[in-house]
């Protein structure tokens, strides 16, 4: 009985609050709407054609979204992996401290965090003043309200999601596995690439999957750090729905984003499983 409730409750919850609205959104994306009237379900793919068939949207929204999600994930992995590796070598007390430090960015509200970035990145911000003072540039480098600015914001928020699962996986690797590699002649570099890194793939996969999904659907960061110029799909869906009132088109953007994320993730996990899945 308890088992049924324990299993049933989450299922009911998901059906009601996730799959229900999702189904509704799919139907909405297949509807059409004339301005000022309620959408009617006509099973048209017109909204999708408008998004995916138009080179402008394809490049400035769909491709941009995938590119930023992918790049921020890759950058966060490159920065997060060394942090996680370093943390995994620490005694557990210091590891706790480092984990805490790594997740601090998540404690700060996105609005506050973005204003923080503005102070650093804007034309008269800390970074540009430092660069000019050092004579490295003559004019401020535009970072706020550019793709690069959004990328910086997306990367920063991604790092904790990379670091935390990786620390867990790296700490769980038996040090004897690395010692065994050394004993047969592998230096630190080889040991890392042939033993430690392959064994940490589950952690890499977990972190990058979370980050890619989060950043592909990013809304607040592009909205606040990209302005009108960096229109990722989440932001564009919001604009279509909330500003222009075009719910079917907004839904089509949402459904497209969802399908893109899912297929990227499936392809990615498939590649990982083929490359590193042996024996597990």
């Amino acid at each position: 009985m308890l088992y049924l409730i324990g299993l049933g409750l989450p299922i009911v919850f998901l059906l009601l609050f996730f799959l229900g609205p999702l189904g509704w959104m799919v139907l909405m994306s297949l509807s059409s709407q004339t301005a000022g009237q309620a959408p009617t379900l006509v099973f048209t793919l017109g909204n999708f054609v408008r998004l995916l068939g138009d080179p402008f949207y394809l490049k400035n929204t769909v491709w941009l979204t995938l590119k930023l999600a992918f790049t921020s994930t890759a950058l966060a992995l490159m920065m997060g992996y060394p942090i996680a590796y370093f943390a995994s070598q620490l005694p557990s007390r210091w590891r706790g401290v480092l984990i805490t430090l790594a997740v601090v960015p998540l404690w700060v509200n996105v609005v506050v965090r973005t204003f923080g970035w503005a102070v650093v990145l804007m034309d008269s911000g800390l970074l540009n003043r430092a660069l000019m003072r050092l004579g490295l540039v003559d004019r401020p480098v535009r970072l706020m309200f550019t793709e690069t600015g959004v990328l910086i914001g997306l990367t920063q928020i991604a790092i904790p999601y990379i670091v935390v699962p990786l620390i867990g996986v790296l700490t769980a690797i038996d040090p004897a596995l690395q010692e065994a590699a050394q004993s047969v002649g592998a230096n630190r570099w080889r040991t890392f690439w042939k033993v430690t890194f392959p064994l940490s793939i589950p952690g890499v996969a977990a972190g990058t999957l979370i980050v890619f999904s989060l950043n592909a659907s990013a809304f607040a960061i592009p909205a606040m750090m990209g302005g009108e110029r960096v229109r990722m799909m989440g932001l564009m869906a919001f604009q279509q729905a909330a500003i222009l009132g075009n719910f079917p088109y907004a839904a089509a953007i949402g459904v497209s984003l969802f399908l893109l994320s899912i297929s990227t993730i499936l392809a990615y996990t498939g590649i990982l499983a083929r490359a590193f899945g042996g024996g597990r």
Binding site: E179, A181, S183, G185, V195, G279
Partner: protein
Amino acid sequence: MELVGCAKRFGETSVLRDVSFGLRKGESLSLLGPSGCGKTTTLRLIAGFLTPDAGDVFIRGGNVTHVPAHLRNVGMVFQNYALWPHMTVFENVAFGLRLRKLTPRTVETRATAALTQVQLNRLRDRYPTQLSGGEQQRVALARALAIDPSVLLLDEPLSNLDRKLREEMRVELKALQQDLKLTSLYVTHDQEEALSMSDRIVVMNNGEIQQIGTPRDIYERPVNKFVAGFVGHANFLEGVVLSLNGDRAVVRLPSGQTLHALGHGHVAAGSSVMAMIRPERIRITTAPPLRTAADVLTGQLRQIVYEGATLRYIFSLSGRPNEMLFAHGVPDQPPPGLGDDIYAEVLQATVILG
């Protein structure tokens, strides 16, 4: 391979003090001691995973104290095997070979040879998780052997196997050791394993070497109570050395009875010592044994424990009712009754220092 005056501290605790011993080419040596005695630390000093605070490590005549592990050419078999789960059996074994500048053909040949030595070539394409404990153990061994190590280090390699398999592997490992004339250092807390597997044994306790000797020396002539008690079972009787003749000593027990015992060079007449008697070197009888050259002590039988292959007699000596001794007997003769007066014929005793 040689260790000279090695010491190691972890923070406040000194885990090794002045450890020195050598390992001849082709020799198999066991490091024997209870957990925490420093034997694993010693092994890790040789492997290069730790650097001693004092002292030096030599391999093939060269000082490798500060040489990193991967340049030492030391093969190691880990207690939990430490096989790489993402590589097949063959890849595990070939890994070390691929790091050397060898042709792919040589790698293939040598890895196959190593796998054949441990009779596992048929499982070469499996992953470690698909193997039994005993098979994993063999892969670990093949991996260490493949690189043709200067020294083979084995860290309690059999302790994760069940008893029957452990005994089989012991025989196999010993045969391999002899066939390949491996120079090997075997860390174990199992005295039976150390006695049966090695040419010489180093007994350690509390970070110090207690005794180095052949298995026979260690068992029959332990230098102190720790070694005697750790390697096998032993009875200890206090006494005073009455006289010495070569390495033969006569010891007077508190009961007034005398005992002939094997002595050590450093025992002087008149000194207080312990006489150590192995339980299988005592023969218990109800009638005084006739025509015996051995010393015969008298006492009372207190308890009999049936152990299958042997009987264990627990008895006390006359005049010392609170000191229990034990002896092994054979179950085929009708045992004496509890409380009976018995005669304990001491076939061999050894003088040790307290």
